[in-house]
C-alpha cells in the first residue's frame, strides 16, 4: 500500500526504438511541467553531452524530477528516469527500469514496432513494469496510428486501443500523457521506517563532489550524516548531501524516503565503488538481503586503441581514465604492439559502445587514434586441460596446443520490410548465421531471427544490413552462449614481416576470402616504396593470399621553379611530413589509414 505521500509520486521511464521521439517527449514533459523557463530549455535537455546530441542517442541514464499539477490542482512528483536506447547498454537500461514502477513506450506512428521497441518492452516486462503505449509523430503525413496500434497489440500483446495519440515535437496531446502516467502507472510503495534499501541505477563523477550516486529508495530513509554501505563492493561512506534532480541541476533536500528517486554524495573518489545495480543500505541498521540485481557487466568486444602520435600515450591514458570515471563498463589495459607502439587493449559492451568511446576520445580529448580490428572473447581449451579466454589475436597459443575453440553466439532479431528478406537472409548465411525463424508483424514486415557468431557481426554487419535494406532494417542482438568453432588466426605480412596490429581471428571457412580482401586493401593503402613490397596473408606458415606493391619508378621534380627554392623545399618537407606519420614495419612505411581500412572490408 502506498502512503499519502507516496500516492503523489510516480517513477517512470520512457522507452523507444531509436529516433521514435523519446528525448523529444522527455523535453516536452519537462517543459510542460513548468519547471523550466523557455530560456532554460535547451533542445534536448536530457542529452547533455555534445556527442549524444549529434548521434541522437542517449548514452548514460539520467533522471529529472517534474512537478505536475493536474486539473484538480493536485501536485504530483513525477520522476522521469532516462534510459539509454541501445542494446549495448542493455544492462543499464534494465537497472534504470528496475528503479521505476512503469514505462511510457513511445512508438513512431509511421515506423511502427521495431527491433529495439521489442527489446526494450521485454526488459520492461522482465522488471514487472506497467507499460503505457504512446503513439508519437501523429502529425506526420505518413502516420498510420491504427496500423501501429494493431502492431503493438499483435506483436507485443499490449492493449493499445486507448494509447494517447501525440506529437511531442508539435506539442499535440501531451496533457493526456501526464494524466495517463498518473492514472495508469502505480504509485511507489515501501516502508520509510524500515532499514534503508536503495538501488543504484546510475552514477556520475563530478570533480567537486566526487561520485554522485543516482538511486531509487525502496525502503527506509537516507539523510546527511548517515553512514552507508554499498552491499556489492562493501565500501562504506558518510553521506555528505542528498537531493533530487532538478532540470539540469541537483537540488539538495533534507532526506530521501521510500518511493523517492534522488542522489547522494559522500566524497566517493571512484565510480567503480558505486556499481550500477548495487544496493545501498546503512551501516548501523542494514537490510539483510540486497535487492536482486547486481551483476558484473562483461565486455563483449575488444580492440586495441593506439595514439597516432606515440608521444600522446599518456594523454590517451588520462582520457581513458576520465571516461572510465563515468563509464564503469569501459575496460582498458596497457598493450604494446610492434607496429603501433604503446596503447591500450580496451573492452566494450558492444560495437556502439566502442564507437562512442572512440569518438569521445577523438572529439572531447582531441586525440588522433588508430584502432585495431575488434575482437570478441574466444574460449580456448588447451590440450593440457586449461581453458583460456582470448580477446587479443596476438595471444593465440600455438595451434598444436589447442584442443578446441569456442566462440560467442548471439541471437539476432532483424525487423525488416519483406522485400529485403531474401537479401538479408543471404547476408546472414554469409555471416554463418543459423536460421531460427521468421514471423510476420504485418503483411509487409517481418522479424527474422538468426543465431549468429558475434565475430561476424562486429566488423561491419550493421553497415551492410543498412545498405542492403536501404536503411529500413532494424537489428538487435543478445548473447546466447558459446559454441565450438573452427577458428584460425590470420596474419598479414608486409615485406615478409608479420604486422601484429593486423592479425585477427576468423572462421576457417572465410579465412581465404578475408585474407585476400585484406591483401587487396593493403595494396591500395601502402604507397609505393623504392623497392617491391610483397603483402601476404598467412595462417601459420601457409600463405593464403598475396599481392605486390610494385617499386616506385619515378619521384623527381623536373623543374626547380626558377629561383624559388623555398617552394621546392616545402614540397620536400611535405613529403617528409607524410613519411613521419607513417608506421615503420621493418623498412616499410605503413600509413595509419592502412590499419583502419581493413576494418571495413565489405564496403565496396
Amino acid at each position: 500500500m502506498s502512503s499519502e505521500r507516496q500516492s503523489k509520486i510516480r517513477n517512470f521511464s520512457i522507452i523507444a526504438h531509436i529516433d521514435h521521439g523519446k528525448s523529444t517527449l522527455a523535453d516536452r514533459l519537462i517543459q510542460k511541467s513548468g519547471l523550466l523557463t523557455e530560456r532554460e530549455m535547451q533542445d534536448q535537455i536530457l542529452d547533455n553531452m555534445e556527442l549524444e546530441r549529434e548521434r541522437g542517442i542517449t548514452i548514460k541514464a539520467q533522471a529529472v524530477r517534474l512537478i505536475y499539477k493536474n486539473k484538480d490542482g493536485e501536485e504530483y512528483t513525477l520522476n522521469l528516469i532516462d534510459t539509454p536506447g541501445h542494446v549495448d547498454f542493455n544492462y543499464e537500461v534494465s537497472r534504470s527500469l528496475a528503479a521505476c514502477d512503469g514505462a511510457v513506450l513511445v512508438v513512431d506512428a509511421a515506423q511502427g514496432v521495431e527491433a529495439q521497441t521489442l527489446a526494450n518492452v521485454y526488459l520492461a516486462f522482465d522488471n514487472d513494469l506497467e507499460v503505457l503505449p504512446v503513439i508519437n509523430k501523429i502529425d506526420l503525413p505518413s502516420a498510420e496510428p491504427d496500423r501501429v496500434k494493431k502492431e503493438i497489440e499483435d506483436v507485443i500483446g499490449l492493449d493499445a486501443q486507448n494509447a494517447p495519440l501525440i506529437s511531442a515535437k508539435a506539442d499535440i496531446n501531451i496533457e493526456e500523457v501526464f494524466d495517463r502516467i498518473i492514472s495508469d502507472i502505480p504509485a511507489p510503495e515501501g516502508d520509510e521506517k524500515a532499514p534503508l534499501k536503495a538501488l543504484i541505477f546510475d552514477s556520475f563523477y563530478d570533480s567537486y563532489k566526487g561520485v554522485i550516486v543516482f538511486m531509487r529508495i525502496f525502503d527506509g530513509t537516507v539523510k546527511k550524516g548517515d553512514k552507508i554501505r554499498f552491499m556489492a563492493t562493501k565500501k562504506e561512506f558518510e553521506v555528505v548531501e542528498v537531493g533530487v534532480f532538478g532540470p539540469g541541476t541537483f537540488i539538495p533536500s533534507d532526506d530521501l524516503k521510500a518511493g523517492d528517486v534522488g542522489y547522494l554524495t559522500a566524497s566517493i573518489k571512484n565510480v567503480r565503488d558505486t556499481r550500477i545495480g548495487d544496493t545501498v543500505t546503512t551501516v548501523n541498521n542494514p537490510v539483510k538481503e540486497p535487492l536482486a540485481g547486481y551483476k558484473k557487466v562483461n565486455s563483449m568486444v575488444y580492440c586495441g586503441i593506439f595514439p597516432a602520435d606515440g608521444s600522446k600515450y599518456q594523454d590517451l591514458r588520462d582520457a581513458l581514465e576520465k571516461l572510465q570515471l563515468n563509464d564503469a563498463a569501459l575496460k582498458f589495459d596497457a598493450e604494446t604492439s610492434a607496429a603501433l607502439g604503446f596503447g591500450f587493449r580496451c573492452g566494450f559492451l558492444g560495437l556502439l559502445h566502442l564507437e562512442i568511446i572512440q569518438e569521445r576520445l577523438e572529439r572531447e580529448y582531441n586525440l588522433d587514434l588508430i584502432t585495431t580490428a575488434p575482437s570478441v572473447i574466444y574460449k580456448i581449451y588447451l590440450t593440457n586441460g586449461e581453458v583460456m579466454e582470448l580477446s587479443n589475436p596476438n595471444d593465440m597459443p600455438d595451434p598444436t596446443t589447442i584442443l578446441k575453440m569456442e566462440e560467442p553466439i548471439v541471437k539476432a532479431e532483424i525487423i525488416l520490410p519483406s522485400e529485403y528478406i531474401g537479401s538479408i537472409m543471404e547476408l546472414c548465411q554469409q555471416r554463418r548465421g543459423e536460421y531460427v525463424g521468421m514471423e510476420y508483424i504485418e503483411q509487409t514486415r517481418a522479424v527474422l531471427t538468426y543465431n549468429m557468431p558475434l565475430n561476424e557481426i562486429i566488423y561491419d554487419f550493421f553497415d551492410v544490413l543498412k545498405s542492403r535494406s536501404r536503411g529500413y532494417a532494424s537489428f538487435d542482438y543478445e548473447l546466447k552462449g558459446y559454441s565450438p568453432s573452427k577458428l584460425v588466426k590470420l596474419d598479414m605480412m608486409v615485406n615478409r614481416e608479420a604486422v601484429d596490429a593486423l592479425s585477427f581471428i576468423v572462421h576457417e571457412s572465410s579465412a581465404v576470402e578475408r585474407g585476400r580482401k585484406m591483401a587487396e586493401k593493403l595494396k591500395k593503402e601502402i604507397p609505393r616504396h623504392l623497392f617491391e613490397i610483397p603483402i601476404q596473408a598467412a595462417i601459420g606458415n601457409k600463405i593464403i593470399a598475396r599481392e605486390t606493391v610494385s617499386a616506385m619508378r619515378k619521384d623527381v621534380l623536373a623543374k626547380c621553379y626558377g629561383g624559388d627554392i623555398t617552394r621546392k623545399k616545402k614540397l620536400l618537407e611535405k613529403q617528409k611530413e607524410g613519411k613521419k606519420r607513417m608506421r615503420q614495419i621493418g623498412s616499410v612505411e605503413l600509413p595509419q589509414s592502412a590499419f583502419m581500412s581493413v576494418l571495413k572490408l565489405d564496403e565496396e
Binding site: 619508378r553 619515378k554 619521384d555 623527381v556 621534380l557 623536373a558 629561383g563 623545399k569 614540397l571 613529403q575
Partner: protein, 373 residues
C-alpha cells in the same frame, strides 16, 4: 675589397596566352599593366641597397614570356640595371621567349640590350600535342623563329622540350628529340610534364580525359633523351638540362650551387646574405611598391640540406670538401647514416671527393632529397 658575385632574375608575368599546364605566376591579356609594371620594376631596381658591393655575372628574364613585353620597356629595364650595377665583362644575359612572339624588332632590341642567350619554349614539334597543351604556336612557326634567331646572330640558344605529354608516344618523343638535335642548339632542357593543381590541365587529368604516358613510359622517355642527346654531343649536366661544351646555363647553375641572386618583379625569389625572400604575388600590391612578402633566415641545418638537394641535381653532384669549407663541418657529421643507406640502395655514389646520384637515384631524387631534410 673584392666584389661579390651576384645574379639577377627579372620576372615578366605576362603571356600572349596561358598554357594549360602552367602554374607560374603569369597573366594573359594584361597589357594595361605593362607600363605600370615596368615603372614598378625600375623603382625596385633603383631602391636596391649597396649595389657597389656586387659584380653581376648573370641576368635572367623569365616569366611569363618576356618577349611579349614592349621592346622600349625592356630597354628601359636593362638600362636601369646597367646604371645601378657593376656588370661583369662575361655577363650572361638570358631571355625566355616563345616562338610566335619573336619578331625582327624584338630580336634587334634584345641584341641592342646585350641579350646573349635565348631560351625558346618549343616543348614539342607535334602540332596536335602543342594544341592540346594550349601552346599558341605550331612547329613551323618555331622553325621560322629559330631560323630568324640564328640569322640575327644569337649563338647561345636553349630549346625547352617537354615529355610525358598527353597522347605522346615514346617514338613521337624520340622524333622530337631528333628534330631538336638537327637544329643544333647549344643547350636543350627536357622537362617531364608535372600536372599541378589549380591548372586547367589538372581538371582534364582528374576527369580522366587525358591520355598520359604511364610512369614506365615517362622513364623510357627520359632515358631516350639522355641517350639521344648524349650521343649528339650534349653533356647531361643537370637532371633536366643538356649542353654543348661551354654552354651550360650559368644562371641556373647559380641556383644549384647556392650562390646569391636577387629577384626583381612580381613574386620573384631572392637569396642574399643568408636570407631567402620573395616578393608579393599580388599585382596591385606590387604595383603600389609593396615588395617583400616572405622572408626566411636560412638556418644552418636548412643550409646543409639545400646545399645537398640543390647540388645533387647536377650530375657531377656535390663536393665533400666544398661542403666542409662552406659550413665548417663535415657532411658525415649529420648525414653519415643517410649517405650509407642511400649508397647501399644504389641511389647515391661516393667517388673520392664527390657524391652524386645514380641513374636510379635521379629517377627517385625526391625520395633521396627527403633524407637530407
Amino acid at each position: 675589397m673584392e666584389d661579390k658575385k651576384l645574379s639577377i632574375y627579372i620576372h615578366i608575368p605576362f603571356c600572349a596566352a596561358k598554357c594549360l599546364y602552367c602554374d607560374f605566376l603569369s597573366f594573359q591579356g594584361a597589357e594595361q599593366y605593362f607600363e605600370r609594371y615596368k615603372n614598378a620594376l625600375i623603382r625596385e631596381i633603383e631602391s636596391f641597397k649597396n649595389p657597389e658591393k656586387y659584380n653581376v655575372c648573370t641576368i635572367f628574364f623569365g616569366g611569363g614570356t618576356p618577349s611579349v613585353f614592349p621592346p622600349e620597356f625592356f630597354y628601359e629595364i636593362c638600362n636601369a640595371l646597367y646604371k645601378k650595377f657593376n656588370i661583369s665583362s662575361d655577363l650572361e644575359l638570358s631571355v625566355e621567349a616563345n616562338p610566335g612572339t619573336l619578331s625582327e624588332d624584338i630580336l634587334n632590341n634584345f641584341m641592342l640590350c646585350g641579350v646573349n642567350r635565348l631560351s625558346i619554349g618549343a616543348q614539342s614539334f607535334d602540332d596536335k600535342i602543342l594544341k592540346i597543351i594550349g601552346r599558341i604556336h605550331t612547329s613551323s612557326v618555331f622553325f621560322k623563329s629559330f631560323e630568324l634567331i640564328r640569322r640575327k646572330g644569337f649563338d647561345n640558344v636553349n630549346i625547352d622540350l617537354m615529355f610525358s605529354l598527353p597522347f605522346q608516344s615514346l617514338s613521337c618523343w624520340e622524333s622530337t628529340l631528333k628534330t631538336a638535335v638537327e637544329l643544333e642548339p647549344e643547350h636543350i632542357s627536357a622537362y617531364s610534364l608535372i600536372i599541378e593543381e589549380n591548372t586547367p590541365i589538372y581538371g582534364l587529368y582528374k576527369n580522366g580525359s587525358l591520355d598520359l604516358p604511364d610512369e614506365r613510359t615517362d622513364r623510357e622517355m627520359y632515358y631516350a633523351a639522355k641517350d639521344i642527346l648524349k650521343s649528339s654531343g650534349y653533356e647531361h649536366y643537370e637532371i633536366s638540362n643538356f649542353a654543348k661544351e661551354g654552354f651550360r646555363s650559368k644562371h641556373n647553375t647559380v641556383y644549384w650551387k647556392r650562390e646569391e641572386y636577387i629577384g626583381f618583379g612580381l613574386g620573384a625569389a631572392s637569396f642574399l646574405n643568408g636570407f631567402r625572400f620573395k616578393n608579393t604575388d599580388n599585382m596591385e600590391l606590387y604595383l603600389d611598391g609593396c615588395a617583400y612578402e616572405q622572408i626566411e633566415k636560412i638556418k644552418d641545418r636548412d643550409a646543409y640540406s639545400e646545399f645537398i638537394f640543390l647540388g645533387l641535381r647536377m650530375m657531377e653532384g656535390i663536393s665533400i670538401s666544398e661542403f666542409e669549407n662552406c659550413f665548417g663541418i663535415s657532411i658525415f657529421e649529420n648525414y653519415s647514416s643517410q649517405i650509407e643507406n642511400l649508397i647501399k640502395q644504389g641511389l647515391l655514389v661516393m667517388d673520392k671527393d664527390r657524391l652524386y646520384l645514380t641513374e636510379r637515384g635521379i629517377d627517385v631524387s625526391n625520395s633521396v632529397f627527403v633524407e637530407f631534410l
